[in-house]
Symmetry: C2
Subunit: 195 residues, 2 copies
């Protein structure tokens, strides 16, 4: 199972207005675009992908939302659609332990970034100082970690270091998190083709 | 100047509600994501890019909206932001000839797909039957043509054929138009790096 993990430092942890994703919802627009980039092909879903958003905004962080490409329903490509499923999850609220399914294929929990990372196997941190992504060995079932519009904090980076995450770079230019996810998915598709 | 041209077969040609981009506005969400994919880097704009959307929906097609990366202002990455600049352009309306600037760096005209294509130089049609994109020769200032959720019509394809457009494929999988644009921009960035 391939995974994408996005740390959303300001994304709110309470239901929000769908008409103001960048402002009132704490850059929830970024999270919504990352859902799209992780899961959508032109005709269908990437069923082998889990997408995690770690919401760290007020009032009740952390909250982790997971979208599973195999099971997700009612998801369209537009930002509002992904955001509305996140909003539904927040309306339900996170259980005190484990994760609840708020709508088919969408899950909510109180897991922290560290909890999520420690539950994954091979972790790759997308970072400008990493090795050239096109040259690193990949099986396609790695977990790729990205930040939103802010960098990961030193504490978050040390979680990755303890986990033994590899660092990989997509080039000299810096891209939005959702663009990074598109590029990673495409590179992995190209490698599949070569098999 | 690099260009992206997206044919939006159902996108409306009159002001629309920002709360229903996929429905009432005729998949204007696709156009908005393509604006983002064409122009945004993590810290700033791609200033060497022109983005064209050919709107072919009711009531008054065709309308062409152009975003210029060098001059554009008031554009944020979220769908609603790009859509609101398109809406402002439609509120102004297209002039009977030439193009008008509705907000800084956003232009509206009555140009058809054929008019736009014939005004561009080296045209590349992104299509599954094309040559492998990673192997074709590119200078970086080509015009890349994509369709929205519907294929180009035979008439639109014949415009490209008359123009002598090359066909290029991004792989065996089919991607949404905005994902294609991200992949093209990244490939061109990678080639720049090798220079």
């Amino acid at each position: 199972m391939r995974s994408f993990v996005v740390v959303a430092h300001k994304a709110v942890t309470t239901p929000f207005s769908l008409n103001d994703l960048p402002g009132g919802a704490g850059r929830m627009d970024i999270v919504a675009r990352c859902v799209n980039a992780s899961l959508f092909l032109s005709h269908g879903m990437r069923r082998d992908v889990d997408f995690y958003a770690i919401l760290l905004g007020e009032p009740n962080p952390p909250v982790t939302i997971r979208f599973n490409g195999e099971r997700v329903r009612y998801l369209s490509p537009d930002e509002r659609s992904a955001a509305s499923l996140i909003k539904k999850a927040l309306e339900r609220g996170a259980p005190s332990s484990g994760e609840d399914e708020s709508t088919p294929g969408v899950y909510i929990s109180k897991r922290s970034f560290e909890d999520v990372i420690n539950g994954l196997d091979d972790v790759i941190y997308l970072h400008e100082d990493g090795e050239d992504f096109r040259n690193i060995e990949l099986k396609g079932d790695e977990a790729f970690v990205l930040s939103d519009h802010q960098n990961l904090t030193p504490e978050e980076e040390s979680v990755l270091e303890k986990k033994g995450a590899r660092k990989a770079s997509l080039g000299k230019r810096l891209y939005h998190a959702d663009h990074c996810i598109v590029i990673v998915n495409h590179e992995l598709d190209m490698r599949e083709k070569l098999k």
